[in-house]
């Protein structure tokens, strides 16, 4: 048997082992995709397509890389440079080439099939195949997808419930959450005990007393100050005490943070001027003091 025949024989064995390795790659690819598809609830048959694509790509890549001569020369030091020289000069026929062919042929006798086996690569692939098969079986038999979806649904329901409550109850919900608000001081018990109740509550109807028709300004404690007592507002996280004085005129509008108008305009048409203002008019007893005050100021300038 000459060198070329032996090389062919070695190449067949080598290709067989490579094919086995590729087959394992194909199976691994199939299993990985199948597990993912199973989790997504898609038919596992579809996993064949990407695995087959990977197999074909690898086949071309490996096919290009396969160089039995280089592999043998690397594995067997005695064949180093001899084998490639013999192969390149296979068409030649002189006594040195013939001698080289005989020499290489004898050395090729020592080549063992086991030298082609990439034990590390094959072992790791075999283990990976077993593990992935186990995972696929687990995913399929235990219906892992169903379990995962159940957990997700539960979480989704709870989350939806919270959001719905927020949308539906709005301010009440915020009040429940302890935000500072005028109405947060309200309690039905206190309200019930009041005859006519105190104005300024934000929830009309809640202030109705035990006697029907006596609530909200009807009783003895009725007051024109419908804006309530001085309270606090929170602007950019800073609490500011403020008091509304609509009697000084101007428009007051209360807006929610989202721009929605939550209260009507408080347009005050009855604006008091200095002339009509009895509180701010200077009495005759003070006129002298005021005059001197301005004189002092003008002297100082």
């Amino acid at each position: 048997m000459d060198v070329l025949d032996k090389l062919k024989e070695a190449k067949i064995v080598f290709l067989g082992l490579r094919a086995y390795k590729l087959l394992l790659d194909f199976i691994i690819g199939f299993l990985i995709v199948a597990v993912l598809l199973q989790l997504l609830g898609v038919s596992m048959i579809l996993a064949v397509a990407p695995a087959a694509l990977y197999f074909i790509v690898q086949l071309f890549r490996e096919g290009r890389k396969i160089n039995i001569i280089r592999h043998l020369e690397t594995s067997y030091g005695g064949l180093r440079e001899r084998l490639s020289t013999a192969y390149d000069n296979r068409a030649g026929s002189n006594l040195i080439v013939e001698d080289l062919m005989n020499d290489v042929s004898v050395r090729l006798e020592d080549v063992e099939t086991s030298s082609f086996v990439e034990s590390k690569a094959l072992t790791s692939r075999t283990v990976a195949t077993v593990v992935l098969t186990f995972i696929l079986l687990t995913v399929t038999v235990l219906n892992i997808r169903g379990l995962i979806l159940g957990v997700i649904n539960e979480n989704t329901d709870l989350s939806n419930a919270v959001n719905n409550a927020k949308e539906r109850y709005g301010n009440e919900f915020q009040a429940m959450m302890g935000q500072r608000w005028e109405g947060s001081n309200w309690s039905a018990e206190n309200e019930e005990e009041k005859l006519g109740a105190q104005p300024g509550g934000s929830r009309p109807g809640y202030g109705q007393g035990p006697i029907p028709g006596t609530g909200f300004g009807v009783g003895s404690e009725s007051s024109a100050d419908i804006y309530g007592k001085a309270s606090a507002a929170s602007i950019e996280g800073k609490n500011i005490d403020f008091q509304l004085h609509p009697e000084y005129g101007g428009n007051i509008e209360i807006r929610e943070s989202d721009g929605r108008v939550s209260a009507n305009d408080f347009a005050i048409t009855n604006v008091e001027s200095a002339d009509t203002c009895t509180d701010c008019a200077v009495g005759p007893e003070h006129e002298e003091i005021v005059r001197r005050y301005f004189e002092k100021i003008s002297e100082g300038v």
Binding site: E81, R82, S84, T85, A86, Y87, D88, N89, G92, N94, L95, I96, V97, D99, L100, D103
Partner: protein
């Protein structure tokens, strides 16, 4: 003959041409031939193993070699010893400035025959030999140096209208002294390129020198015996050409030679003005084949290529100012190039 046991059967056919039988026998005994030649030469030359190997490679590839070294290192002795071992016709020219081309090639002389008629007869010069030792070749004038050009390249000489073929094998082994530059004519690049190898002859080691002193200071005059006939040499030359070489190895040799040519930012562009010619590629492959053969191998290895790159390339590359400034030799640059490839 010392090596009689090796050559019994070959000697019988040594008067004829090299036959296939001779080739087989020579090939089968190649390693023995080489070692016996080395042993025989070692009787007069101590050490210088690399030099011996390279000179033999030049001979077995039917090429010429230029030996460069300081005086007294045995350059001429090596060539003489090899010529004696090979039983080849050997001539020597001591190159001097007054050497004329006709002193090399030969000339027509007028002679009178028995009838009293005068006619021109060609008197062969020393070039008509198998081994021509051109001692201190750089002392000859360019005109005389160039008279060797045709002989070296074409293995023929033309005088007047007549071309004379030189006998095979023919090779020129020239020596030159690298330090005495005064009164010398450095060989032109075209001529240097015709030498396959430039062999550097270095100093011997202390042990080798001790042996040299012992050998040449005693009453015993060392002699060498004939080991190879002309047919043996021709057979080895034939075998050298038959030595198979892989494509990868040829590509490796070509890559080395092409890397000596300055281009882009390669090593050559840093250190060289000019790179080697395609003749260098042929030379490296041929010399590597001969090296593989004398080492008893039936294939050429990368090591052969690497080893032969130095003697083949060192006279074919021209250093630039940068490498001279850094004190780099041609061998240093070749080493860098081999690293790069």
């Amino acid at each position: 003959m010392v090596g009689g046991s090796i050559w019994d059967s070959v000697e019988k056919s040594s008067k004829g041409d090299v036959s296939e039988v001779d080739l087989k026998e020579v090939y089968s005994k190649m390693k023995d031939i080489y070692s016996s030649v080395r042993k025989e030469v070692a009787r007069v030359i101590i050490g210088q193993d690399d030099v011996m190997e390279q000179v033999l490679i030049a001979i077995f590839t039917e090429n010429h070699a230029l030996l460069e070294g300081f005086p007294g290192l045995g350059k001429t002795m090596i060539v003489r010893a090899l010529a004696s071992v090979m039983d080849l016709k050997f001539r020597r020219i001591q190159c001097t400035p007054d050497l004329m081309p006709s002193d090399v090639t030969g000339t027509y002389i007028v002679e009178e025959d028995t009838a009293g008629r005068k006619r021109f007869r060609f008197e062969e010069g020393p070039v008509f030999t198998n081994i021509l030792l051109a001692d201190e070749i750089n002392r000859a004038t360019p005109k005389s140096q160039s008279s060797l050009l045709e002989a070296m390249q074409e293995r023929q000489i033309t005088i007047g209208n007549t071309t004379h073929k030189l006998e095979r094998p023919f090779f020129v082994l020239a020596t030159q002294n690298p330090i005495e530059m005064e009164g010398t004519y450095p060989l032109p690049e075209a001529q240097v390129d015709r030498f396959l190898l430039k062999i550097k002859v270095g100093y011997p080691t202390i042990e080798e020198e001790e042996k040299v002193v012992e050998l040449y200071s005693s009453e015993f005059t060392p002699m060498v015996n004939r080991m190879l006939t002309k047919n043996h040499v021709l057979a080895v030359q034939e075998l050298t050409k038959k030595m198979p070489i892989s494509r990868d190895i040829i590509e490796y040799a070509l890559k080395i030679v092409s890397t000596t040519r300055p281009s882009g930012k390669n090593t050559a562009s840093h250190y060289l003005d000019y790179g080697a010619s395609p003749r260098a590629s042929i030379g490296i492959v041929l010399a590597s084949k001969a090296r593989a053969l004398i080492n008893g191998r039936n294939y050429v290895s990368k090591d052969d290529i690497k080893a032969m790159s130095y003697p083949v390339l060192r006279h074919r590359i021209i250093l630039n100012f940068e490498s001279e400034r850094k004190g780099m030799s041609t061998d240093d640059v070749i080493a860098e190039i081999l690293k790069e490839v």
